[in-house]
Amino acid sequence: MNNNEKLINAFTTALGIEAENVTDDLTYNAIPQWDSTAHMVLIAEIENVFDVMLDTDDIIDLSSVAQAKIILQKYDVNT
């Protein structure tokens, strides 16, 4: 499984949505499933899958799938 697939899986697991809905323009709070509680689960899932620990600024900035990819690059994870 490549990193992009892992990221999609992280979103589907944390938010309980279908993989086809995990597009770059999916944003926090744009769907009921991605609320603050799910955001916390999502952060934990991403950290677990990619073995990274995001700092608070990145947790705040991680407000879309596209942004998640940019942030992960800072942790040497290319999707």
Partner: protein, 188 residues
Amino acid sequence: MNKQTFTAYQVTLTPIAREHQHVLRHWRNDPEIQQQMFSANYITEEQQLAWFDRINDCNTQWHWIVSYKGEFIGSTNIKAIQKGQSVVESQTLEAGLYIGDARYKGNVLAFAPTLAMYDFCFENLATKEFKALVKTTNSAAINYNQKLGYKIKAQSPDTDVCEMILTEQDYRLNTTVLKQLLSRAKKQ
């Protein structure tokens, strides 16, 4: 008079001053914010300054401007519910928040000013609970409050307002993970 400045969860809350009134009025007149307020009138510069003069020395309500990374992003406030008591003495406070900076509306950062303010109140004032009156149409605010641990106490069929209550215990129980996420150290 509010003289309490504090920083927590990445944001700083500073007591509002005259120089903040321009940005506060700008946000307050934003139609998106205006429609969620109980008073939705357009606010003139004179009205804004008159309001500031009225509440500046007031001990029954305190207002802060919120900054993140050195930029103003919104405003918070507390009001004493118990008649004749100051915010310092009142065991029940009503809290308010709006995020003016569009980048952080609906962002997880929007919880930071509230967490900072509620921690301050529970730890430094006589506060035992918060009460909120929210328009029933404002589902975002109701959801936001519920994430903090608020429970709906009453909802009148005759009005479009619901009353929500937050005890200190419910607050602590519901915000542990959120606080951990918003108070992580920065990467070195």
